[in-house]
Symmetry: C3
Subunit: 396 residues, 3 copies
């Protein structure tokens, strides 16, 4: 029997099974069938392979962004710290460098000459107004206050006729009655420019690109300004801040007054089957917070410059309102590869069975001649257990 | 013949092929078959379509986070720089603003009045103890030291009776024998609050949301504190630092002593088929480093405040231990779309063939009546090459 | 009829449909068929299940990175601010801490003693040279200048014999004729070390790891240096900056002169079906910008130290060139799970139908005996509408 087994194992390689088919010549079902097959083939070829580039292997972008803001602004208001003062990059970019982001100060409240000591708390803080009830100054100081209660109740320097609790703090404390100046003190920042340098890489394909394209020399580059409508300047990496905000559908002065967060999206969607020179960036601008909110609007934070005077530490406190620009780089590169193509063709063919299933339902349950078709399609075999036993017996 | 070809091309559109089927009435196989089909249909409908929302198109969240910490702390220890001093936001948040993160100083070692010059190196640095062997000071200075060896061996100011190499450095150098104070000098920071403002957008669906929900005005908002158990305050964006650490299953004082890294996860998983008001954030807190490690534990860094005294540059050096909070926003929104639904139905139907394959194995190889079924299912055709030739001849 | 309906509904559960098959014994088709099936099974088992780990459930890495740079450098050049000065961590790391990044200053241009006032603009700025044409100083000042034109034309201090417009600015303005010093003033930074502490977590599997592996104590850890060729030191988290740059195929001195951006990639690809101790990091280094560009090369930014002298604000302006290191943590962990395994087996079986489709094409259109096969495979049924009507009549 051994050669027999080897023989049948061997013969397995020379066999092929194919389903037996009922070939129905019917206009109705034929049209439905071909239409469904067309849809599926159209989907597979048109959508999965051509539109979604199912014949390509993909790689995500690796990116590095550095930014450089240029511009100077002059303030000349009566507010403390703002009399005839020039603001340059080292003044209004805080912190001086960030990863994929930069912050431009657009509005300022400055409190000068603070030093450690005791003074009257800001009367706008809830729970510090002790007019006629000095005992509240013995309670714990409020978390949003500027210092620690000493227990005394003293007249406020900011609000005449009001008594407030005395605090141990950086004195004098910031005056909470001062609102963010309007128009913003650094409104001139709308004309500032930012040079966004973006180097990208698609490691799988060894392709490196950057967003500075088609500029011959530094002078030409420095003089360009981004403009999506211009064939050359749509690749200019220098943006006017006001332009960015306008393209994000916001008003610069409004946004500069109370601050905000804006996203600069750089899309790199590259088809490396074409010339690598066609792999170019596209820019999109979007405000990430909203100007529509009533409470907790805008963006601001506090920082200080510290200095020493007669061995005592002093500081100038800045409450900086401004626009935070976040740069997000997204993108994919695709290149022809045989594996994803075969996968898509394979799964497309498998989907073709869906057409057969739907047509079968029509043929066997809907059409009037369904019984005829059913008869041709099906071969009935009674196979209950009794029958099985019987047949098993008859077989041996 | 031409009309004939056109005719057959035409007739192709009115044809339909359906497999011929053996219809077996057997309890055993029938039950197996229906059970497998039920599993597959259950998986497709229950898991892929309903549970995994296979009827929806998805979009990833675009997010902007800004944070604002509030609170003041008083230090009053004998350590340099910590005698009766108030610490407010501009003091303990370093740098003043970061993207998706903030750092709260919780513990400090301060070295005051440093200026460029020569002095004794910190005796805890390996390779600087020159007691009895002054020649080692002529070797290159160690990389982890504070300055450059001048070549002299002088008595240490920090460790009596020890001689150390003299260095050119910011003098006096930080005293390495001082450990991070315990309890941490800014332990009061546990009561500080942080306001996490998170604006998100699902650009594909044009939906903008933020994490401030259901608060009528600024006062109500400022007084709330996050509490996941409270129906209103689980949407409060103000967190007490101690609460965050506790929810991350850590102890604030321990963590404040040597520093650490904590992640605040904000999940936005939104089903936009329902009311957009149901699209709400969920918070999760997690310590990203571990308190279990023996070496290289915690988080600290050094920064300095620079100042001028009589035209000479001085600085105060801060070794800041603290908690770094990293805010990660994750999420997806789904909305009904017909394309993914069809795709899932299609691939589900394709999977149904698996049931047939498994049952065929049972029918043809396991059941006793397998030969009967095999006879009905298969039509044997001898198709070796000899036969092929013969048939080809007979055909012409 | 009711029992009849119940009966047929019931009998549906004890039925099984299997296609009728033409079993062809042909070497040609058999070999093609088995070869295709082998390819598909090979792909499913070899590629989808084994290579792509189709039997595993995956989780993405959650990561926290903290860095600590060590090292001091001495500058002693005639340039302002660089005479006999020591530079330590608090001097050359700006800002003192960043999220997943750090910046090391490698080259510097310092402008000392700036204060608000009027002075001559930098003559290298285009549009400020007013030699013989003082009227240009009445035009708006250029955006890339250092200040606001006062309208006067005065001799330049930087370029003898040239007249430039006077500006209100931080005076004296930075001298644009000074290029980045070569060799870089902080070239000694090549020997600095950076300790990269990376804690990761795979939340789905509850696995926490860090990149400090196999070091017994702090001393052993502090003395190690990363070396991928050494079995122990390939897990050392302390890197020499020069090593990083060399492994990114760049030259340290070149890069230090004009600055650059370098990525440190940490890969955590873990198979948690094995011992969790085998879950170890791998490092990769890559320059993200390019040294090949002619324009807009390198990385630099400006920051200032502010101080007070006789109640007037002064600052020292630093133009810092340096290397920005970006740390990216990538990785996945996989663990055996039955759901993805079944999914892969299922879709693999569905793909097997592709073999049948291709072989059918061969059998029915290519082989000489195609008509014989076609006859056996197909059962023709005329099913046009006339026929349908007729059959429908005959049926009733």
């Amino acid at each position: 029997m051994a050669p027999n087994i080897v023989g049948s194992l061997f013969s397995v390689f020379f066999e092929y099974d194919t389903p037996r088919i009922v070939h129905i010549r019917s206009k109705k079902v034929g049209v439905i069938n071909r239409f469904l097959q067309l849809c599926i083939i159209g989907y597979v070829i048109g959508f999965a392979i051509v539109f979604k580039k199912g014949y390509q292997d993909f790689d995500d972008v690796q990116s590095a962004v550095t930014t450089k803001v240029k511009g100077v602004a002059l303030t000349n208001s009566s507010d403390p710290g703002l009399q005839l003062r020039i603001w340059d990059v080292s003044d209004y970019i805080v912190p001086p460098q960030e990863n994929n982001a930069f912050f431009v100060t657009t509005n300022l409240i400055i409190t000068e000459n603070q030093t450690q000591g005791t003074c009257d708390e800001d009367p706008t803080i809830p729970g510090v107004n002790c007019t006629g009830r000095p005992e509240i100054c013995n309670e714990p100081s409020p978390i949003i206050g500027h210092g620690i209660f000493t227990g005394h109740c003293i007249p406020s320097n900011y609000s005449a006729g009001t008594d407030v609790c005395e605090v141990y703090a950086w004195c004098p404390v910031e005056n909470g009655m001062r609102k963010s100046p309007s128009p913003p003190v650094l409104e001139a920042s709308k004309n500032f420019t930012v040079f966004v340098k973006n180097n990208i890489e698609f490691p799988k394909f060894g392709v490196k690109r950057r967003n500075i394209l088609g500029f011959e020399n530094d002078t030409e580059l420095q003089n360009c300004r981004y403009n999506p409508a211009d064939p050359q300047n749509r690749f200019c990496p220098i943006f006017i801040l006001d332009d960015i905000i306008r393209r994000a559908h916001e008003n610069y002065t409004d946004m500069a007054t109370s601050g905000g967060v804006v996203q600069i999206l750089i899309h790199w969607n590259c088809n490396l089957d074409y010339d690598v020179e066609d792999c170019v960036p596209e820019y999109q601008f979007r405000r990430l917070d909203s100007s529509q909110y009533k409470s907790a609007k805008g963006f601001n934070f506090r920082y200080a410059h510290f200095y020493m005077k007669e061995d005592k530490e002093y500081r100038t406190l800045y409450k900086a309102y401004g626009i935070k620009f976040i740069i997000t780089v997204q993108g994919q590169a695709g290149k022809f590869s045989v594996v994803p193509l075969l996968l898509n063709i394979g799964s497309g063919l498998a989907l073709l069975s869906v057409a057969t299933i739907i047509c079968d339902i029509v043929v066997l349950y809907v059409l009037k001649a369904k019984n005829i078709y059913r008869e041709k399609k099906y071969l009935d075999v009674k196979g209950d257990d009794a029958y099985e036993v019987k047949s098993a017996i008859s077989h041996y």
